[in-house]
């Protein structure tokens, strides 16, 4: 089970918090791509895409390999972990939201109780 205080997982959350990086992951799950291909596809500068690739690589979600002048990116060896981290990140958003909803609902419930008791 993934641990919440695992820095690798924090890095995964950060990596997955950006729409472009989620798009890059989706793209790499279809086929390997060079950084310049990715930059073209996502209408971005090479420097901008290098940063995104760096974040994904740091999180262990992808690996890169330089052959000659071309750096090829592929989906990382932590496939299942990446999937779990992705769902976990999604769940953390809804869990935080529903904790707050719970508070609002409990207040509504208390309000009804006090109304009902004739106050």
């Amino acid at each position: 089970m993934v641990q919440f205080n695992d820095p690798r997982l924090d890095a995964s959350f950060a990596a997955l918090s950006d729409a472009t990086r989620r798009g890059v992951l989706a793209q790499l799950s279809q086929s390997d791509s060079s950084i310049s291909d990715l930059a073209d596809r996502f209408h971005m500068t090479l420097t901008g895409m290098k940063k995104h690739v760096g974040v994904l690589e740091h999180a262990g979600l992808i690996t890169t390999e330089k052959v000659g002048r071309v750096r090829t990116c592929r989906i990382g060896g932590r496939g299942l972990e990446a999937e779990a981290a992705w769902i976990d990140w999604y769940r953390s958003v809804w869990d935080a939201r529903f904790d707050e909803l719970d508070k609002v609902v409990q207040q509504l419930k208390d309000r009804e109780k006090s109304d009902g008791s004739g106050k």
Binding site: D10, D18, Y90, R91, A96, F98, D99, V105, L108
Partner: protein, 162 residues
């Protein structure tokens, strides 16, 4: 058993994923009409939809919760960094069901369905986000959870880790 394998249950919120759908469930200790009220009343909605713990700031909430009505949510600290989420309500059944579209993306968005099922004074809430394709799900799911300011915080954190 694929669904069971992909389900993650921590805290009290459960998430399951199929190819192009994400399903979130949670039980609330209150009747369905109260959970529905908290979901459909803008002043109440504003108090829970953007938890501070996630670094979200909800600037404005417009909800016209009826079949054919529209909604618009704006996030961000100021108009310059504002990000809008909008769509329309496809189906609204008071105290039982809300279905809405997510139209902010350039491509076909997801359709979200929330049902409120009351059992013995408690409410089982089920939220489903159905995407047009597996790729669309992976590219966009939970985009709202990734506001620019939150992203900045995470980027800083990542810098510290690196």
């Amino acid at each position: 058993m694929d669904q069971a394998n992909s389900a993650l249950e921590q805290g009290r919120t459960k998430v399951e994923r199929t190819e192009r759908e994400i399903i979130v469930t949670r039980t609330f200790d209150a009747p369905a009409r109260l959970v529905f009220e908290a979901w459909t009343t803008p002043e109440l909605f504003k108090r829970w939809w953007a938890p501070r713990s996630l670094g979200m700031h909800l600037r404005s909430v417009d909800l016209d919760v009826r079949t054919g009505g529209t909604y618009r949510l704006e996030f961000g600290e100021d108009p310059a960094s504002s990000m809008a989420f909008f769509g329309n309500y496809v189906e609204v059944v008071p105290n039982a069901k809300i279905v809405w579209t997510n139209d902010e993306g350039a491509e076909e968005g997801s359709v979200t369905t929330v049902t409120f099922e009351e059992q013995g004074g408690k409410t089982l809430l089920t939220l489903s986000e159905l995407y047009p394709s597996k790729e669309a799900l992976e590219a966009n799911a939970g985009a709202e959870g990734a506001m620019p300011e939150q992203f900045d915080q995470l980027e800083e954190l990542l810098g510290e880790l690196g």
